[in-house]
């Protein structure tokens, strides 16, 4: 039996190669975030105070929406071209495979977004403290988005019209994250400690990390039935 390491390594190499071959698909969600963030000042007015107050929420919501757009990439192609079924009959531990694929997705779709945040923060007139808090919450929170998203995608991958249902399934379960993240940033804006919120988000991250790969691998099996 090939070791867990070589399995994870193989899956990640494959997914990373694929991601870089389909650069356009990676860039689109980022451009989407940028445009959503541009829309808000045009929609609610350019007052710096107002933008500063609603900025963290805007960036987080934009991150969630753009995440939802790119989520399907995780398993859709594999399902349709039969790679998933070959993975299942290879006897590889699917929990590890799922975890590796989720990590890859996070790496290629959310890490660039986190790098982009300082720019978005400037657009929305966030203070330096808020920007730091925003980046930390994104760093802790976006892996959770990837993991929960993976469950949703694995559940809907066999459906013809999976995309809309995916958002319907996922948005409610993203709510706690949004609440704690924006409240952390709000505390940061008032120069209050925001460790408690981060701790709760960390706990959510650990809980999700423990359960999501199992749920994803089961859902992928069900998708083949």
């Amino acid at each position: 039996m090939s070791s867990s390491f070589s399995i994870i390594n193989g899956v990640m190499r494959r997914d990373l190669i694929l991601a870089f071959r389909q650069k356009a698909e990676l860039a689109q969600p980022l451009m989407f975030v940028l445009m959503v963030v541009t829309l808000f000042p045009l929609g609610v007015g350019p007052s710096p105070e107002l933008l500063q107050r609603i900025g963290p929420g805007i960036i987080w919501i934009a991150a969630i929406l753009s995440g939802l757009m790119g989520m399907e990439r995780m398993f859709r192609d594999d399902y349709h071209d039969g790679s998933t079924e070959q993975m299942l009959v290879s006897g590889m531990p699917m929990v590890l495979v799922s975890a590796a694929k989720i990590f890859c997705h996070w790496l290629v779709s959310f890490v660039p977004l986190i790098i982009l945040t300082p720019l978005l923060a400037v657009f929305l007139n966030l203070t330096w403290d808020m920007t730091v808090a925003l980046m930390i919450t994104l760093l802790i929170g976006t892996p959770v988005l990837s993991m929960l998203g993976a469950i949703g995608v694995a559940l809907t991958v066999g459906l013809r019209k999976g995309g809309l249902i995916l958002s319907l399934l996922l948005i409610p379960v993203f709510i706690p994250l949004l609440i704690f993240a924006t409240s952390a940033i709000e505390s940061a804006s008032m120069r209050l400690p925001y460790l408690p919120q981060l701790a709760i988000m960390g706990a959510i991250l650990l809980l999700t990390a423990a359960l999501a790969p199992v749920a994803v691998s089961y859902a992928l099996k069900v998708s083949q039935h």
């Binding site: 559940l155 409610p172 809980l207 069900v222």
Partner: protein, 247 residues
């Protein structure tokens, strides 16, 4: 005990059981709701602060409570299906979902109708109403996911996973919404503080609570029967049950 329980993994047996249980639950539920509602509307004393508007409590509280319990029941059914691979458990889960969604809707609507005279506005982002709204979304997600599948057996399993994800999430959502609400205290008035409720007011509430519980059970059972028939429509036992009796 186990053997007795597990025989209902078979659709025929479950179908018969549903028939019996429906008869036990249906009429008592209507009777209890009638008694509780009339008592609550006509005989229970007025609330000294809220006047007669508080009478909405007799449907608001039972439906809110049942909306949560129904979700938990759904998740339990999903778990049974997942662990023991019972087809009937998934059918039960799918039967409960719309009933729970209707209860959630009732809780939301009555909450709004109660809120208007009390807060002066139909909707307020109060912690409880907000979590109820999210609960409704969770229900709709499960129902939408199931109905999107052509193969209902597969759909049942997928919806089951979603129900379990939801049930793990509900406490987190609930807690986070409360946190969020206390944070933005300025906007809210904690309205539903619990005054010690007088026994004359409490009795009809308890009766209605039981009535609603039986109603939810009865309708879910009825829907489960439908679901069993729908899914087993090609089987010989359905044919002999429905078509050969007629002759």
């Amino acid at each position: 005990m186990w053997k007795w329980f597990s025989q209902y993994a078979k659709p025929e047996k479950a179908y018969q059981l549903c028939g019996t249980l429906f008869r036990w639950f249906w009429l008592p539920s209507l009777l209890l709701i009638l008694v509780g509602t009339v008592w609550g509307l006509v005989f229970a004393p007025q609330d000294y602060q809220q006047g007669d508007s508080f009478r909405i409590i007799y449907i608001h509280v039972p439906s809110a409570l049942l909306s949560m319990s129904a979700y938990v029941a759904m998740a339990v059914a999903a778990l049974v299906g997942l662990v023991w691979q019972w087809r009937t458990a998934y059918m039960a889960m799918i039967a409960i979902a719309p009933v729970g969604a209707v209860m959630t809707f009732i809780a939301l609507f009555t909450g709004a109708a109660w809120g208007k005279p009390m807060w002066g506005t139909w909707w307020i982002w109060d912690a409880r109403l907000t979590s109820q709204l999210i609960l409704l979304f969770l229900y709709l997600g499960v129902i939408a996911l199931y109905s999107a599948f052509d193969d209902k057996q597969q759909g049942g399993k997928a919806a089951g996973i979603m129900a379990l994800v939801g049930v793990v999430n509900i406490p987190i959502i609930h807690y986070s919404v409360e946190w969020w609400n206390t944070l933005h205290q300025g906007a809210t008035i904690t309205k539903f503080d619990k005054p010690s409720i007088a026994p004359e007011m409490l009795w009809p509430l308890l009766i209605n609570l039981l009535g609603f519980a039986l109603f939810v059970a009865a309708v879910s059972i009825k829907r489960m029967r439908n679901e069993i028939v729908r899914r087993e429509i090609h089987r010989p036992w359905i044919k002999s049950l429905f078509l050969e009796n007629e002759k």
